[in-house]
């Protein structure tokens, strides 16, 4: 009944119906689940990472943990998962099945190895099965298997470049993405190494190595298995700002294709990742939390956004925000001050208290009326008051060259 906005485009020579891909994770670890995801409308799958025989996958359950508040339990999701328990032969069978069922979808597979022969043999087998794209995990938070347990391949510039070359050498014209970790000293150096290696792109980035928590009653690390725990890979909305910075840093400094991954929970998160350089966006925690049906809102939200902005293709978003990302020292110094909309204000006093105890004591409080007001002489416009205002009644106002500018609370969208 309604016209469907065309969200399709070309990514490394592969047709994508839309920018939304299911990442190498539990939602792509069973054939029937992956099929359901593709049927629901996701543009592609990256089958969960597989390896060669002889690399045991000893999963420890429960592997999932999370942190948040009572009303929002899942700000961050943690896992001590490993790669898929399925053998490469099985994965190759699945590639064939999925390509047969969904010829217009992207069917990719993720691999991890240690020795050169392992990596290259995995690539050859997948190529033979007709895979669209190969993603290489250089960044499992539980460490690469084999040579250096506990360390991630993508934490070494030299190893990253060397192994990426092996893979690309075997892959030939099949596109290769290297999935990296944000936990490095300088992400740009890693991206440059990948550029030198000749791979097609980078997936930025994997889950963030983290300790999800400590049970204060037992002092056991979380997740706790018989009182002992391990570091998790953290995903979910809490890591989006880290991912944004990682993608932006790569995109500003290295000319390489980026597949965005990590913390996107909505179409607008995806737009953000693309605006700083991602050419598509991979999801895992969102479908693991709210199911494959979330694709409908991702698509319709993005379609509406493109219409509103007059963009023809999702690719038009890519890099749009990059030019405006500067060093702090390069920014123009405004002379703004807090501007409170008293009609919107509900009189909670959070702005007053935040300014009084943590900023510049520039907000005055009328106890009788329960109303804040701003001492413009004392207020440098730091913006803390607008962060704590529960109803977004505060913005920073600047009058420059006879023109009024407002700095408003970010992260919310006008409905």
């Amino acid at each position: 009944m309604y016209r469907e906005h065309d969200l399709s485009y070309d990514f490394l020579g592969i047709h994508l119906e839309n920018p939304f891909i299911l990442s190498a994770a539990p939602p792509t670890d069973e054939l029937d689940i992956a099929i359901d995801g593709l049927k629901a409308g996701w543009a592609g799958v990256v089958l969960k990472t597989t390896s060669v025989e002889g690399n045991p996958v000893n999963l420890k359950y429960p592997m999932m943990s999370s942190f948040g508040t009572a009303a929002h339990k899942l700000w961050g999701l943690g896992n001590i998962d490993l790669i898929s328990q399925y053998h490469i032969n099985e994965i190759c069978e699945r590639v064939k099945t999925l390509k047969g069922m969904f010829p217009t979808k992207m069917v990719a597979a993720s691999i991890m190895g240690s020795k050169k022969e392992d990596w290259q043999s995995l690539v050859w087998q997948l190529k033979k099965a007709g895979v669209d794209l190969i993603e290489c995990s250089f960044s499992c938070p539980q460490g690469s298997m084999g040579e250096a347990p506990g360390r991630m391949l993508a934490q070494s510039i030299e190893a990253t470049e060397k192994v990426a070359r092996w893979v690309k050498e075997a892959a030939g014209d099949t596109p290769v993405l290297i999935k990296i970790t944000p936990q490095v000293t300088d992400i740009v150096e890693i991206a440059k190494a990948l550029k030198r290696s000749g791979v097609d792109g980078v997936t930025a980035s994997n889950s963030v190595p983290a300790l999800i928590g400590v049970d204060v009653e037992t002092l056991e690390p979380l997740p706790s298995l018989f009182g002992e725990g391990a570091y998790s890979g953290m995903t979910g909305m809490v890591i989006k700002p880290l991912t944004l910075r990682t993608i932006a840093e790569i995109a500003r400094n290295v000319d390489i294709t980026i597949s965005g991954n990590g913390g996107a929970y909505s179409w607008s998160d995806a737009v953000e990742l693309m605006a700083v350089g991602a050419s598509n966006v991979q999801f895992c925690t969102l479908p693991m939390h709210h199911g494959f049906g979330t694709i409908r809102d991702l698509k319709s939200g993005l379609a509406d956004y493109l219409d509103r902005k007059g963009y023809a293709s999702p690719l038009d978003i890519v890099d749009k925000a990059l030019g405006s990302i500067k060093g702090q020292e390069e920014l123009v110094a405004p002379h703004s001050h807090s501007d409170i909309d008293i009609d919107k204000c509900i009189g909670c006093g959070n702005c007053f208290r935040a300014c009084n105890d943590g900023a510049h004591r520039a907000i005055l409080w009328d106890a009788e009326k329960r109303q804040p007001s701003v001492d413009a002489d004392k207020c440098p416009g730091c913006g803390q008051c607008m962060q704590v205002c529960p109803v977004n009644a505060i913005r920073m106002k600047e009058e420059l060259d006879g023109k009024v500018h407002y700095f408003e609370f970010g992260g919310t969208h006008q409905v």
């Binding site: 009572a70 509900i346 006093g349 529960p390």
Partner: protein
């Protein structure tokens, strides 16, 4: 009797606590007569620090178990909750109750030696026991005199579905055993004999007597006073009410007795007969909802003319009323519709039209126009060293207001004794 309202679960409480805006100089706290530090205790719920939350509550307020259940939140904290301007007020009373139900009242007590003075407290209700606690904390010894069951109106007259006996016992036993030096079961009607033995006296007897209905038939068998019936049922004695009960009144006592009569015998018809409409009922909303859920029915716009019957109640003759313009209190005035009288067949009539001031007790204490005991700004009566508070001074009020009086009187007594030494 099972409680009407369940304690919030830990998860429900934590989610509700997240809605709190932690207002600066919070209106909820200011509105609470006992000044319970609402945002602070809610923050402690959020952090999982329930003992800290309880300490905040019990420092502000001795009757926390009681108020967690029966405080009319819509009249106090929740009526000014800033969150209402976004969506709906926090469920502050229920959060308060969650804390008291999840923690132990005997935590971490530390009392000073009794060295400062001796005070006699007449009445072991919320005002009296609060005063005793506040004075004991300041190093006073307090002798408490009570004619009836300890705990005042909540213990004596609030139905167990809203205020269960285990909660009452936990709170009242704790307060009386920890803070009162002696508790005497004695009906004190004159303060003069006590003055010589004590540094001060606090009169907090409440208003135990009830108003009579000045209509024909009020003397018939089957006519009861509401609070007397409540006290009887609360103490485990059957009410003796029949199967068709009419309750005259529209306040909390009328609704309370209606609920309790339905509880006692769910096959009994209980009708609240009220002169005005549903909007004008003075009882608190939650009590009306609970009574309605128990099956209490209402005859609105009915002015009682006389109780009919021959020796025993057979019915209540009422005249239909119609509502007119609003009066100063915002409630509609009513007028009888001539020729519209009819008889409601009843075998029991319960009169719930308010308390009566008993001016025969406490001779020598000056009284105001309404007959209530007069006190000055500092809660002192016309007799030096004698203070008064609670319903005996203000007329019927809530538990938390009696607590406020008890706190204030204790402060003033402590100041008096300190000044005199």
């Amino acid at each position: 009797m099972e409680e009407f309202e369940k304690t919030l679960s830990r998860q429900q409480a934590a989610i509700e606590a997240e809605r709190c805006l932690y207002c600066y100089d919070a209106p909820c706290q200011a509105k609470c007569p006992a000044h319970v530090p609402v945002p602070e205790f809610i923050q402690s719920i959020r952090s999982g620090n329930l003992h800290g939350a309880r300490t905040l509550l019990q420092t502000a307020h001795p009757f926390i178990e009681t108020c967690g259940r029966i405080c009319p939140e819509e009249a106090f904290c929740q009526s000014v909750c800033t969150r209402s301007k976004i969506d709906a007020p926090l469920r502050i009373r229920e959060l308060h109750r969650f804390v008291t139900d999840s923690t132990d009242p005997t935590d971490r007590m530390e009392l000073p030696e009794v060295t400062v003075g001796r005070v006699a407290i007449i009445g072991a209700g919320p005002a009296g026991l609060t005063c005793a606690r506040e004075l004991r904390i300041r190093g006073f010894s307090c002798d408490v005199f009570e004619a009836r069951r300890m705990g005042g109106v909540p213990s004596q007259e609030v139905s167990t579905h809203r205020y269960p006996q285990k909660v009452e016992e936990r709170e009242i036993c704790f307060l009386a055993s920890v803070f009162a030096t002696h508790v005497y079961t004695k009906h004190v009607t004159d303060v003069k004999p006590l003055i010589a033995d004590y540094d001060a006296v606090f009169v907090a007897t409440g208003l135990p007597s009830e108003s009579d209905m000045n209509i024909d038939g009020a003397q018939l068998v089957g006519v009861h006073h509401a609070r007397e019936l409540l006290r009887r049922m609360k103490s485990g004695v059957i009410s003796g009410a029949g199967n068709r009960v009419g309750i005259i009144g529209g306040g909390n006592v009328a609704i309370e007795v209606a609920s309790m009569l339905r509880e006692e015998d769910p096959t009994r018809d209980v009708t609240v007969v009220y002169r005005r409409g549903i909007k004008e009922l003075k009882a608190f909303k939650k009590e009306i909802e609970e009574a309605t859920a128990l099956g209490v029915t209402y005859q609105f716009l009915a002015i009682p003319d006389k109780i009919v019957g021959n020796h025993h109640v057979e019915g209540l003759q009422v005249t239909q009323a119609h509502l007119c313009e609003e009066d100063e209190s915002g409630r509609c005035r009513f007028e009888p519709l001539p020729g519209s009288s009819f008889i409601i067949p009843l075998d029991t009539v319960v009169v719930a039209i308010g308390q009566r001031v008993d001016e025969d007790v406490f001779p020598g204490l000056a009284r105001g126009n309404s007959g209530l005991i007069s006190v000055g700004e500092n809660m002192e009566t016309s007799m030096p060293g004698v203070y008064a508070g609670g319903d005996a001074v203000h007329g019927a009020q809530t538990v938390v207001e009696a607590v406020r009086d008890g706190k204030k009187a204790a402060e003033q007594i402590a100041a008096l004794v300190a000044g005199g030494k």
